[in-house]
Every structure is written in structure tokens, then in C-alpha cells.
């Protein structure tokens, strides 16, 4: 399984900052189209790859040229998994807002914001860490080799 080439670790950090701001605006305004757009952003990062993820593109075009290049690289797999976790929360949130169950929209958005904020402020990837927890509550299906 290839998750794509390793990336400049400052890219995901930048993406986390943008995500934090977007989700904060969603919470304050309750404007669901913005959350829907963020859901699509998560989906692209998770399922199409980081190279195509809008915030990564933004980072490469706008931010990276102004920074010193770094040889540091970060694996793409954890990042994509975290984007997938974000996607689930954003999707649930959008459904909540659209269907009028605003409480659901707020709670789901708050969870996604919580994770994005931890990533932006502390460089702590909650989505990545959740992998074992998620697996713990799923039945022991295929146990490779």
C-alpha cells in the first residue's frame, strides 16, 4: 500500500492552521456550505492523495517558496488517515446542519476543530493516534500473516 511520497512536514501544519480557522468560522456562523467545502477538502486529502489536497497546493504555491527548503520529510500514510477521520466528522457535521439537527452539526464540527487545533498548536496528530483506538473497537477480522 503506497500512500504517496513523503511530504514537507510544514505543509500539514499549515493545512491544520487553515482547517482550524475554517472550522472556527463554521462554528460561529453555522454556515453549512463552508463545512461542506471543508468536507470535500478532507476527502481529497484522504482519498485522492496529499499532492492534490487543496491546502497542500496552497502551501506549495504560496508558502513554501518563501521558506527555506527542508530535507525533513514526513510519511504520508498517517496524514491521510487523519484526513479520513476529519472527513467523517465534517460529513456528519454537514449532515447535521443541513438536516436541521444543528446540535449534531455543532458537536461534530467541534470535534473536528479540536483535532485540527491540537495539530496546529501542538503538532499533535489526534487522528493518527486514534488508529489503535478505532481498531480496538472493530472486530478482529483479517489478521495479516
Amino acid at each position: 500500500m503506497s500512500a504517496g511520497p513523503a511530504v514537507d512536514p510544514r505543509g500539514p501544519r499549515f493545512a491544520a492552521v487553515v482547517t482550524t480557522v475554517v472550522l472556527a468560522v463554521v462554528l460561529v456562523t453555522g454556515w453549512w456550505p463552508l463545512l461542506a467545502a471543508q468536507t470535500v477538502v478532507f476527502a481529497i486529502g484522504a482519498f485522492a492523495g496529499l499532492r492534490l489536497a487543496p491546502y497542500s497546493v496552497l502551501y506549495r504555491v504560496l508558502v513554501a517558496p518563501r521558506l527555506k527548503p527542508t530535507s525533513e520529510r514526513e510519511d504520508a500514510a498517517p496524514l491521510r488517515f487523519a484526513q479520513a477521520v476529519g472527513f467523517v466528522f465534517a460529513l456528519v457535521g454537514t449532515i447535521g446542519y443541513v438536516s436541521g439537527v444543528t446540535a449534531l452539526g455543532i458537536v461534530a464540527t467541534a470535534f473536528a476543530l479540536f483535532a485540527a487545533f491540537l495539530n496546529a498548536a501542538f503538532d499533535f496528530c489526534l487522528g493518527c493516534e486514534m488508529y489503535l483506538l478505532v481498531r480496538r473497537f472493530t472486530p478482529r477480522t483479517e489478521q495479516a500473516s
Binding site: D75, L113, F124, L132
Partner: protein, 154 residues
């Protein structure tokens, strides 16, 4: 009305994030010594990874989806390389989460220091600090060659 609710939730979420972030930061790399209680049977992949006596093995539990695991691997393999009687194994449990479950490991990376007989000396969650880890392990490592200048012969 939605606006003000959202504003409160936003404030609450950010405060919660700050608190959790600081706690995680403080907890990161903290060493917990474990009781001497007899091992309750290690999962097979772990038992198989132990170095022969009298070495201590650092068993690092990782997953593919873990960014700090790579960092941890670099620190620990370097530490094992320059420390006599210390081995390091990185165990990827992505496809066998039951291994982590049997060890009571909830987050990755978690590193367990195990004797050759499988007795757990200590465990560290998060990215370990090499020097702290080394001093915690010191009493369990085979007595090293005389201190002082690099001993020749002997």
C-alpha cells in the same frame, strides 16, 4: 442565536484543546516503571523479538499511521547502537492491533523495555528522551566496561 451558541462552543473547544495539548506535552516521553509482577504471557510477535539474555530489549509499538513513530525509531535505534546490552525492535501492529491490545497499549508510539525473560521494566509513551530513558535503564543493563577512558583490551 446559533451564532452565540457556536461562539461558546468554539471557546470551549479551544480551551479544551489547550488543556489537552499541554497535558499531552507534559506526558510525552514520561517513563513509567512497571511492577515486577510476572509477565502475563507476551503476545507471540513480542516474545519472538526479545534479544537473548542478558540484554534488555526496547520493543517499540508503531503503526503505519503514526508520524512520531519514525522519529522514535531513529532515537531508539541510535541509542541501542551505542549502548551495550540494549536492543531495539520496532513492531508495526497496523495489521495486528490485538498485539497492542494484549499489551495494554492505547497510543503509538509506546515503547516497552523488556528483559530476555519478558519481564517489563518500564514503558514510555510518545517520543522518548534518550538520556532519561538511558538513566532509567542503567540499573538493568549489564555492567558496562570500566568507566573512564575507553578501556583497551581486558
Amino acid at each position: 442565536m446559533t451564532g452565540s451558541t457556536g461562539l461558546w462552543v468554539l471557546a470551549g473547544t479551544l480551551v479544551a484543546g489547550l488543556v489537552v495539548g499541554v497535558l499531552l506535552h507534559l506526558r510525552n516521553g514520561r517513563i513509567r516503571t512497571t511492577d515486577d509482577s510476572a509477565p502475563a504471557g507476551l503476545p507471540e510477535p513480542v516474545a519472538a523479538a526479545l534479544a537473548p539474555a542478558p540484554a534488555v530489549t526496547l520493543v517499540q509499538i508503531s503503526t503505519t499511521f503514526c508520524a512520531p513513530c519514525r522519529h522514535t525509531r531513529a532515537i531508539l535505534s541510535h541509542l541501542a547502537e551505542r549502548t551495550e546490552g540494549l536492543a531495539h525492535v520496532d513492531l508495526d501492529v497496523t495489521d495486528r492491533p490485538h498485539v497492542a491490545q494484549d499489551l495494554g497499549v492505547l497510543r503509538t508510539p509506546t515503547t516497552l523495555a523488556l528483559t530476555s525473560s519478558g519481564r517489563e521494566l518500564l514503558r514510555v509513551s510518545g517520543v522518548p528522551k534518550a538520556q532519561e530513558l538511558l538513566s532509567a535503564l542503567e540499573p538493568h543493563l549489564v555492567p558496562r566496561v570500566e568507566r573512564g577512558s575507553h578501556s583497551q583490551g581486558g
